[in-house]
């Protein structure tokens, strides 16, 4: 194909892909504004077309930017060390759990049911042949992890507890209280953070031992699910069990500061089958997007951005609550909330699609016990007009619930 034909073909696919819809979807993938200079900078061939920075003398640009990335991730998560990135949030959470298993030499893991369902699936895929026993801890009326159930589920063989905050329902977990329970039993606490922007206004999980993050919210396009940017951060004492690449400061022969890939003895190209993980490639260019985003918003902007997210979702939740029930009102949330309707959410969403709107994610597939619940997300990109329109469309048939049509049922099967 000629270049013009290629461009046309993909433009056509883009048109078939909801390119002009307003969306209320979140659930681990968030639509935030991407400042234009991110793409200007990552499009520089020296970043775009460089290999992994093994040859430090001709890779200082990539290495220094990763060092800055690691520093900012530490500042934002409250951890002491952070790696150069992982594939995504789901594999980062999984590898963080494996790291805790190695550190404690214990073989069982407790996972909160309020962790992203697909993250839990990935963890069970990885764990199936590692001889690791997985247990789950449910959530209470506030949408937060049920502390009593958590307490009961931890045994002397529990390596770690994996929670997510904000959790899958958008609710912020009480990390301090959870950490107390977990640490009393000698287990580690792994906290997954799926929505990085929350770190601008929500206290980071400082009591955690390991933090696994999805940094997609920081300037990475939604891109139908990837590439994204996972990160693992932890206490410094655990660094030798950390998977993935790490950049460290070094000096050259004349004493000049430079940066290198370091602690490679953890990695597969040195240790082969005894490595901390089989991971080789990281997400360098995506981490660079994240790095530039964090630099742009910085100390003040990130906070203001997070506050706008908080305000938009607080407004939306209040509006929805007039016509439907917003669940889990007992806990604080960031930019997502769960709406319970009498009408099937797939039917509601079909109505919204007619107005070029994508409604919240129906939760039936993941949490059948929540019935007609759906997960809605509002970011700084969501306008009040869009919220009001969506609320109006949800309200339309409340009280006159209709059974889902056949086409909708098909989507439920997802």
């Amino acid at each position: 194909m000629a270049e013009s034909e290629i461009v046309d073909w993909f433009r056509e696919r883009s048109r078939e892909n909801g390119h002009d819809y307003t969306s209320f979807l979140g659930a681990g993938a968030y639509y935030h504004y991407r400042p234009v200079i991110i793409d200007s900078l990552i499009s520089r061939g020296e970043f775009l077309t460089a290999y992994t920075p093994y040859q430090a003398e001709v890779s200082q640009g990539t290495l220094q930017s990763i060092f800055e990335f690691q520093t900012m991730i530490c500042e934002l998560t409250g951890m002491e060390v952070a790696n150069a990135s992982m594939y995504d949030g789901s594999t980062a959470a999984t590898e963080a759990v494996m790291m805790a298993v190695r550190l404690t030499a214990r073989r069982s893991v407790v996972i909160a049911r309020s962790v992203h369902p697909e993250y839990r699936e990935v963890l069970s895929t990885y764990a199936q042949y590692e001889d690791i026993v997985l247990a789950t801890a449910g959530f209470g009326d506030s949408g937060r992890i049920d502390l009593k159930e958590l307490q009961k589920s931890i045994t002397p063989d529990t390596a770690c507890v994996l929670i997510q905050s904000p959790n899958f329902f958008g609710t912020i977990e009480d990390v301090a209280a959870i950490a107390d329970i977990v640490h009393k039993q000698g287990a580690m606490l792994v906290v997954s953070i799926p929505e990085a922007v929350s770190l601008g206004i929500i206290e980071p999980p400082r009591q955690a031992d390991i933090v696994a993050m999805e940094a997609q919210s920081f300037g990475v396009p939604l891109g139908f699910g990837g590439p994204y940017c996972g990160v693992i951060a932890s206490r410094e004492q655990y660094v030798r069990q950390m998977p993935g690449r790490l950049v460290g400061q070094a000096t050259d022969r004349s004493g000049k500061r430079g940066f290198v890939l370091t602690l490679a003895t953890r990695e597969q190209h040195i240790r082969r089958e005894k490595a901390t993980s089989n991971i080789c490639t990281n997400q360098a260019l995506v981490a660079l997007m994240v790095n530039i985003f964090m630099t742009i918003y910085g100390k003040v902007g990130l906070r203001e951005l997070a506050k706008q997210n908080l305000a938009k979702s607080a407004y939306a939740a209040a509006q929805f609550n007039k016509h439907a029930e917003v669940l889990f009102s007992g806990g604080s949330r960031f930019n997502e909330f769960v709406v319970q309707t009498s009408e099937d959410p797939y039917a509601i969403n079909n109505r919204l699609l007619g107005h070029k709107m994508i409604g919240g994610l129906p939760l039936k597939k993941f949490y059948p016990e929540l019935g007609n619940a759906s997960l809605w997300c509002c970011t700084e990109m969501t306008t009040r007009t869009a919220i009001d329109t969506a609320v109006g469309l949800v309200a339309e048939s409340q009280g006159a619930a209709q059974p889902a049509r056949e086409a909708d049922v098909e989507e439920v099967a997802r």
């Binding site: 461009v7 892909n17 520089r44 460089a50 001709v58 601008g200 070094a250 290198v260 490679a264 910085g298």
Partner: protein
Amino acid sequence: MKHMTRKATRHVSHNEGLIFEKSSAGKAAWKLPPLDVPEVDAAKLLGSLQRNHLGHMPEVSEIEIIRHFTRLSTWNYAIDLGMYPLGSCTMKYNPRVNEVASRFEGLANGHPYQPEKISQGALRILKTLSECLIEITGMDAITLQPAAGAHGELTGLLMVRAHHQSKGHPRKKVLIPDSAHGTNPASAATVGYAVENLKSNSQGMVDVAALAAQMNEDVAALMLTNPNTLGVFEREIHKIADIMHAKGGLLYMDGANMNALVGKVRPGDFGVDLMHLNLHKTFSTPHGGGGPGSGPVAVKKILEPFLPKPVVITKSDGTLGFEYDRPQSVGRVRAFYGNFGMFVRALAYIFANGPDGLRQTTEDAVLNANYIRKGLEGSYDLPYSTPSMHEVVFSDKLQAKKGVRTMDIAKRLIDYGFHPYTTAFPLIVPGALMIEPTESESMEEMDLFIEAMRSIAEEVEEDPQMVLSAPHCTRVSRLDEVAAARKPVLRWKPPS
């Protein structure tokens, strides 16, 4: 440094500190639109969960950010600057039309959970790429979910295990040649398999007799890179496959070197049961300084039930959708559907080349590697005389007599304006120089490379110290990696 000016000349390079060292209060590069909903009192909403400070995050202006990262970028070598001959890494040109295609609104902003009826564009891309890769590999089915090559290996081995389990016994070990990439044994270990080393013969290929002796009902699979890491095609691949299959084992192919085969031979036709591809190698998606990659796994029919879920299907009404009901699936290996942005780029590359173009690409890649081999024979020791495919492996045997090793030569190459080749790999060649030019290089660029390498070989004879202390023209000289690992400094801290 006789010929240095032909490829590179020293020029001014800007100094630039860490971004934190440029920060000062009150500078900003962001601006939010006015809030169209009532403001909220964060303290009231969040209580003790509210964060009060963001630590040492930077405060800088937009022009400072542009300059900061632009200056950093100039400290990198890149394909866009010249030949990047890293063996096994396939550093080929990254076409810019790929970048344009991936940034169309509906693709860049498509949400992974948006309804299928408005995701037909993305689904069509998944399906078309899958079909192209199945055709190229000669396999029957594929998953695009793995995020990188090693992730693909893990996924493939999970399927191997599930296959054997379905026959009643998962088996115990995986055979891996001593020339293999380190991810192979690491991936096998993750899936609970013991790793058994398979020695290479004197031509650097699988010792078929040794394989036959080592193969038994405990062996789940052989992980083979073909062409192998010496750039040599395993000519007895059919025999190897037969040995594996006769005892119920599977043949896994690491597709890292697929750039030597595309359009010429299909692994599915020579007995491979499953393999991964690296879209960031063979299919031109940018390496980006170390990722993102993408590692699809193509399989034969017998392994199809075990593919990660979901898989793309054509529904009864002709539209595309995801199928989640896959009872024998190994499960998910990552959230959502994989590194979609890389699928767009790889498909654009396939479209641009077409079948004939892809075949030509392979031929050119092999021709280029042999051109370099011819050009450097005599100056460097060639430990295996077996014909080269897309890459050639020399050793530093001749230079080692003067105390100069492969890493020293690699560092000296930087002064000549090239990125180093792959050093010290594969492990079966002591002091390896592994060179892969790819099809992207012109004869002029390769001549410059050959000239530089020959010139270094002469320098080793005349002035080894010059080579041992290289590079001389970079911003930083060799960095003390040992000290960096002994007392790791992994983040910036404010001066106390």
